[in-house]
């Protein structure tokens, strides 16, 4: 087991394989990026208490040393109450994209990008930003927003008070829940077997799906209005603008949206013929292939898009029906 004690801003390179990342911070910023090469840690600012970084058995752990005694009787919460300044840190970590991350932060912002095997992020007060994730992702905030761009796989986002925005998502399972705050979801789901659940108590839900989706839809609000761009959905019950349901396409997937007070709107996105035929398919595949990611990162630093190799790859894609 290798252990480092970090008490000033510094960079660490971990020269052993990492399959799991476990970070628990109290306050500050936490950034995690999936990248090839050896795992790296950058601590850009730190309070008076040192962070302990340890690596054992493929698990990279970053956390504070457990104090000899808890402040008063409050347990770990006492850290937050008495020592928010002392325990303030800004930590950035690069791990291989296939590592599984478990991140906890009491107050501050978390940015997580390019992980393929799953991540679980918990922030009590602050914001979570997700970019280009795959696998099973769980993001929970008590107070604050979650913003996700280009997240696929299985995504669960939850906040008590805050807004959820999910943009360009190809997640085949999506659960978004908030108690007080709106949900905006632009879904580029595969047109089959998606499971989408959107739920808010107070706030409006706006969702957009492809016009050729195969979804069984149920929209419901208690004190707002429902509306949809799809003619296949019919009003259920006597109050025509409270509940709307029906089947789009083959109805193999499922979409449920429920608001207690707030409007619920389902929008349709037009689909290009080319997109329908799958001409973009190569660009939409979730990339588990890390070697490829690395190669792309290398060329993006130097050349522009005209390099002959990529043109070649593109022609190859073009050969597909």
């Amino acid at each position: 087991m290798t252990t480092w004690l970090v008490d000033k801003p510094q960079r660490l390179a971990v020269d052993r394989p990492v399959r799991r990342l476990d970070v628990r911070l109290i306050s500050g910023k936490l950034n995690v990026v999936g990248a090839d090469g050896p795992p790296r840690i950058e601590v850009t600012s730190i309070g008076t208490r040192p962070l302990v970084v340890s690596c054992e058995d493929g698990a990279l752990v970053i956390r504070y040393e457990r104090p000899r005694f808890w402040p008063v009787w409050t347990g770990p919460l006492g850290w937050f109450l008495v020592g928010r300044k002392r325990y303030r840190a800004e930590v950035s970590v690069a791990v291989p994209p296939e590592a599984v991350a478990e991140l906890e932060l009491i107050s501050g912002s978390a940015v997580v990008s390019a992980l393929r095997a799953g991540a679980s992020i918990t922030v009590s007060s602050g914001r979570i930003t997700l970019l280009g994730l795959a696998g099973q992702t769980v993001a929970k905030v008590v107070s604050g927003p979650v913003e996700a761009l280009g997240v696929g796989g299985d995504l669960e986002v939850e906040t008590v008070s805050g807004e959820l925005i999910i943009a360009d998502s190809s997640a085949s399972r999506l659960r978004a829940r908030t108690t007080s705050g709106p949900i905006t979801a632009d879904l580029n789901n595969p047109p089959y077997h998606s499971r989408i659940d959107l739920e808010t108590v107070s706030g409006q839900i706006t969702a957009r799906v492809r016009e050729d989706s195969d979804l069984d839809v149920e929209l419901h609000t208690v004190s707002g209005r429902v509306s949809s761009d799809f003619e296949e959905l019919w009003a259920r019950g006597s109050h025509g603008d409270k509940r709307l349901g029906g089947r789009l396409g083959a109805g193999t997937g499922r979409l449920r949206a429920q608001a207690t007070s707030g409007h619920v709107s389902l929008l349709a996105r037009q689909v290009d013929d080319e997109e329908r035929q799958g001409a973009y398919a190569g660009a939409e595949e979730p990339r588990g292939d890390t070697a490829e990611t690395g190669a792309r990162q290398r060329d993006s630093s130097g050349k522009d898009g005209d390099d002959p190799e990529r043109e070649g790859a593109h022609e190859g894609e073009g050969g597909r029906p």
């Binding site: 910023k29 943009a167 905006t184 290009d272 080319e274 939409e284 990162q297």
Partner: protein
């Protein structure tokens, strides 16, 4: 990296990429992916609606060859690009993120995602507001009142069917003829067949005996 996805910058960035040369939608996606250092691959759903809108505004055109669309910038597109040159310069000079500077990269990711999220939210909210205004709860088909269809005398109905079939034929011909690579000899032969059919139809309807 100024957020490329916010405040209509994606549109500007797409124009800039097209000004470098005509490109296929797939290539544009790849180039945007590079801009995100391979961290995120934008889907066709983010690119295509914008290209379509830009095309409607006359900033780009597309040509379809072999089932693939290649987009090209128009003079109007170049004019817009020239007008927003300052903004474009800012967009380009800011590409300095790298995987080496993790904290800086994370800041940029946060800006980019936030910008994009706000754009999406604005766009969807506006669309939803419009949809709500004009939307009426649809009535299920089993509750719809059927309009009685007036019945026609049999000879009139047969006439209508013939007319409809002839119109369909005209449509088919238009579509077939405009297809690429049709041989002129084939067209000439088809022309003769149509002439023969026209004479025969006129004869049948007017009730004249066969000419031979």
């Amino acid at each position: 990296m100024t957020a490329v996805f916010s405040h209509g910058r994606l549109r500007l960035y797409l124009l800039k990429l097209l000004a470098e040369g005509p490109r296929h939608g797939y290539e544009l996606i790849r180039l945007l992916e590079d801009r995100f250092l391979g961290l995120y691959v934008p889907s066709a759903g983010t690119i295509y609606p914008r290209l379509q809108r830009m095309e409607a505004e006359g900033l780009v055109t597309h040509t379809a060859a072999g089932g693939r669309k290649t987009y090209e910038i128009t003079d109007a597109g170049r004019a817009e690009l020239a007008e927003r040159a300052g903004e474009l310069a800012a967009l380009e000079s800011d590409i300095h993120a790298s995987v080496q500077d993790l904290a800086g990269l994370a800041m940029e990711i946060q800006d980019e995602v936030r910008g994009s999220a706000r754009d999406v939210k604005r766009e969807l909210r506006e669309a939803a507001r419009n949809a709500r205004q004009r939307w009426q709860p649809p009535v299920p088909p089993w509750q719809q009142r059927r309009e009685p269809v007036p019945s026609l005398p049999p000879e009139a109905e047969a006439g209508l069917r013939l007319e409809r079939r002839a119109a369909e034929l005209a449509g088919d011909v238009r579509r077939l003829v405009r297809r690429q690579g049709v041989m002129p000899e084939a067209l000439r032969a088809a022309m003769e067949a149509v002439e023969v059919a026209a004479v025969e139809i006129r004869r049948l309807i007017e009730g004249r005996p066969p000419s031979r």
